[in-house]
Every structure is written in C-alpha cells, then in structure tokens.
Amino acid sequence: MRINRVLILLWLMLFVSYFSFTGGQKEEADGDTTLQSASPGTGTIIFTANGEDFVRKGFIDKQGWSISFDRLYINLLDPTAYMSSGQNAVLEGTHWVDLAAGNDEAEPIEIGRLKKIPAGNYQALKFKIRKKSSGSFQGCSMVLIGRAEKKGLSVPFIIKLEEEMDFDGREGYVGEELKGMLLPEKVTSVEMTFHFDHIFGDQEAAANDHINTGSVGFDFFNQFAQNGKVHVCQSEMKSAACYDTLVRAIWTLGHLGEGHCDISNQSSAGEL
C-alpha cells in the first residue's frame, strides 16, 4: 500500500512537471489575434533563402582555411509560413536552391511567392530539407562546391550531404527587418537562413565559442582528399572521427535570421 502511494505521488509530480515545462509559451500565441480581426484583406508573401555573407563572400574557418563557395545547393520542401492561430501559407513542392547565386552583394534568393494570402502576422516559418529525387546530385539534400585555401595550398571541394530534417522557426525572424507581417494589399517576405559557419567554425570567434567547439572545420573534409581535391559524400564519412560532430552541426543550420528553429525528423538521429 505504501509503495502504491509512492508510485501515485511520483506520477503526479511528473505529470505536474510535464505541464510546467510547457507553460509560458501560450502567451506568445495571443499576439496574432489583434491584427487578424482588424485586417481582413489579402497580400503577397515572398519566400526566400539566405546563406548570408558566409556563403556569398566566404570566410576563414576555425583552422585558418579560407573557404569560398561557387555553388551551395539545398533542397527545400514545402516551406510554410504560419500564424499561431493555424492560418498558414504553403509554397508547395521541392525547391532546389543555390545559396551562392549572384554576386557578393546579392539579396536573399527568392524561391517563390504566394498571392492573395489573408493578412496577418506570419512570423513563424517551417520547412523541410530532403534528398533530391532525380537529376544531377540525385540523393543529396545539400551540395557544397567551392575552394579552401591555406598557406599557399588550394583545395577544390564538392561535399555532398544527405541529411534530411525538418526545421520549425516558431520564434520568428530575428534581424534588422520585420518579416512575415502581412498587411492588406501589401507584400512581405519570410526567410530561411542557413548558418554554414556552424559546420566550419569561424576564426573571428573565440576558440571556446560554441561556433568553434561544435564544428568540424575544413580539416575534417580534407582527410578525404585525393589528388589534391575533396569529393566526398556524407555516407563515406560515417566512420571518421568527429562525424557525429558534423551531423550535429548540420542539425543547427536552419534559422530565421538569428532566430532559432526547432529540429525534428533527422535522418541520422538513430545512428549517433
């Protein structure tokens, strides 16, 4: 009998703990209703993808390699802008995007736009990354093509990643613009931002900064070089030391500006 009471008490404590962890987030949802009821018109949402200056201009990784990208492909599926009320706008289909397109000053890449969307605060954005099902780079979800240079050494690379995952940016875009706020007869944009410095690290950050401690750097990929070139698939790197660090870094790629995303359905989740 005493054990039964203890079991019941423990279960109730855990039950209360479960709901206390989910508390404090509902307040974030109420902010949509004020705008929604006052603005019944429609507008246009533009969906964009952005690799930021790291991709457009290059950077120096944590090991001193100067990384530059000629192409950086990513395969996006069904990006969806949504309000906490449930109203959403889905750009259906897969979108094979080159984040390195354009010059150093290029704007975020437009993937598509949806017209006649009911006005509202579409601050949240979720999207999926999937393997390409056909054509060149079939079976890849992301392909990094560029060059790494260090101390006179120049190493061209083609890095094919196969990781699939879902990102959900409920917090909204954080940056120098207000994205997702759709007013009647107006246009707004929403942005999927990808932080590829999370894979390589950044020499400008401190050595103990999470950007460096959680990244692999170019040396990881250079170990697969043949004849001075790196041409490697994710599946070929599984037995390498720090492969799990690479995968966990890939899982942190998706952002909305500086706003973080929840991640789910990672294809390598059961392997680490």
């Binding site: 949509d32 004020t34 705008l35 875009y173 940056g175 999470h210 966990r248």
Partner: protein, 144 residues
Amino acid sequence: MATLFGLMLCAPASPLYCHGAIYEVLAGGVVGIRASFDTGEPMAAARVLIFAPDQPEKYYETKTDRNGIVCFSPDRKGLWVIQVLAEGGHGLRVNLPVDSSMSVQQTAGSVSGSSYLQKIIMAIAVAWGFIATGLFFSRKRGKG
C-alpha cells in the same frame, strides 16, 4: 530510479541546445521588456528594434541596459513587435498586443521553445506515468 530522475532534473542543460531567451513585461504604465538568455544572464547592451502596429518598414532603435531592460511608451493600440539583437548571433522577437488603454495583454513568455533536455524529461515523464499506472493496477490485481 528516483536518484537517477533527481539527477536528471538537476543536470544543467547543454548551452549548445539552450539558445532561447526569456522576456517579461514590467508593470508601471510604461511597457518594459527584460530580455535574458535562458541561463538567466541578461541581454545587456543589445540592439532593440521596435516596430509599431501596421508599420513593418520602419522602426525605432534603442538598446537594452545592463540588466537587459528596455522601455517604451506605446501611443496606439495594436500589435507591437520588438526584436532584440544580442551579440554572438542571439536574439529574440516579442509580439506585444496593446489594447485601447495602452496596456499589454501578456506579462511574460519564453521564446526558446523546448530545449533538448526538456523534451527528454517530458518523454520520460509520460512514459513513467504509463508504467507507474500499470504497476499500480497489476499489484492490486495480484493481491486479489
């Protein structure tokens, strides 16, 4: 089992996963935001962009103080959006619905979502609930 559970509750969450932020709206007529990292450390001297209702293309810019606090006086009702940009690539976005009395309808929130540790604890809590309930009823039937 209880010791393991207790240790998990006390274990600090990895900073790699807890990148969220916390805000609270202060009392006193003026709308104030206290922005903190989920470790409790204030977002001090962070850039703050304040967007008025129905004006997404322009903002008022200010900074948080050393305690992560920023204040402003809304002059119209509607949805105000505050974006705090802290160093190191961190930040948060807060929606503040202001009513006709210039009061904010909500007082606090977290924009971190569930951290990895929280999700583990929730999953264990639910699983333990089912296990404990099953053990309770099976023990009762055994006695009969």
